[in-house]
Symmetry: C2
DNA sequence: TCTGCACCTTGACACCATGTCAGGGTCAAG
DNA sequence: CTTGACCCTGACATGGTGTCAAGGTGCAGA
């Protein structure tokens, strides 16, 4: 399978497939005589796994660990669970931070008349 | 005031002060004969404004708009309010996305025994 | 005056994940 | 053989920030 087909089948863009290969997240693809990369169903399966992990907010390094655990039949699921929980906590921290900013902005906007008048507590707040 | 003192007083790192100057977010700093940048209290004030806006999640371009509105005495506060509300909505979207990922991860982790056993729905889910 | 240290300058490279473009080669169908 | 779709590599961009290197400046103390 050429890289374009692998990209469509896995949900990972051609660009990122080449990138993941370059940084060593996935092993170098097989090559045809032409130099074209050639992907097996197993390769696509792995790419799909990566796409899902990215959708869950895992970073490249964590995905590397997950891939290792995934392909290890004797893995201990505790490690996977720990990674997932750490990721969940990190996501929670970020979500709370964003929510805090959002609340602050909405509070400020509520006290801002809008329209043509120059008065605006939003800018005042930024000056503090 | 040298750049180091301005950085400490404003909460913007030296690195970012130079960066903001380079990308035109702030005007080029005055220079001493030595070539050292020289900052006034007004400059520091503006940097502080930028630091606060960054803390609220505004991007560089939006901060440029806010700076223009800030220094415009005849500004209409409606524009500022619109920027703040747009930012709040964007932050809300991101926060909800993160929260969704977090919930998914926690659900998966709850069904993962952990410990030494290899069974793990987290990895199964990533395979789907 | 010399020395040393803290500070400043510019430029470059790094991260993370991704897009896009250019300049070339390959393949398959018409 | 031509055409168009596909592939290759390499480079540059984004955003916001860190860090490092090689060199100049400023000031205080011996």
């Amino acid at each position: 399978m050429n890289i374009g087909a692998a990209a469509r089948a896995s949900g990972v863009s051609e660009r990122m497939i080449r990138h993941y290969e370059q940084i060593g997240l996935i092993p170098p693809a097989a090559r045809r005589d032409s130099g074209y990369r050639d992907y097996s169903d197993a390769d696509v399966h792995r790419l799909h796994f990566i796409a899902n992990a990215r959708d869950l907010g895992f970073g490249i390094e964590e995905i590397g660990s997950l891939l290792a655990l995934w392909s290890d039949r004797n893995r201990a699921s505790g490690e996977v669970k720990a990674l997932a929980l750490a990721r969940a906590e990190e996501l929670g921290r970020k979500a709370r931070a964003l929510e805090g900013m959002r609340t602050t902005l909405l509070d400020l906007a509520r006290n801002c008349a809008g329209g043509e008048r120059p008065d605006c507590p939003i800018l005042d707040r930024l000056e503090e």
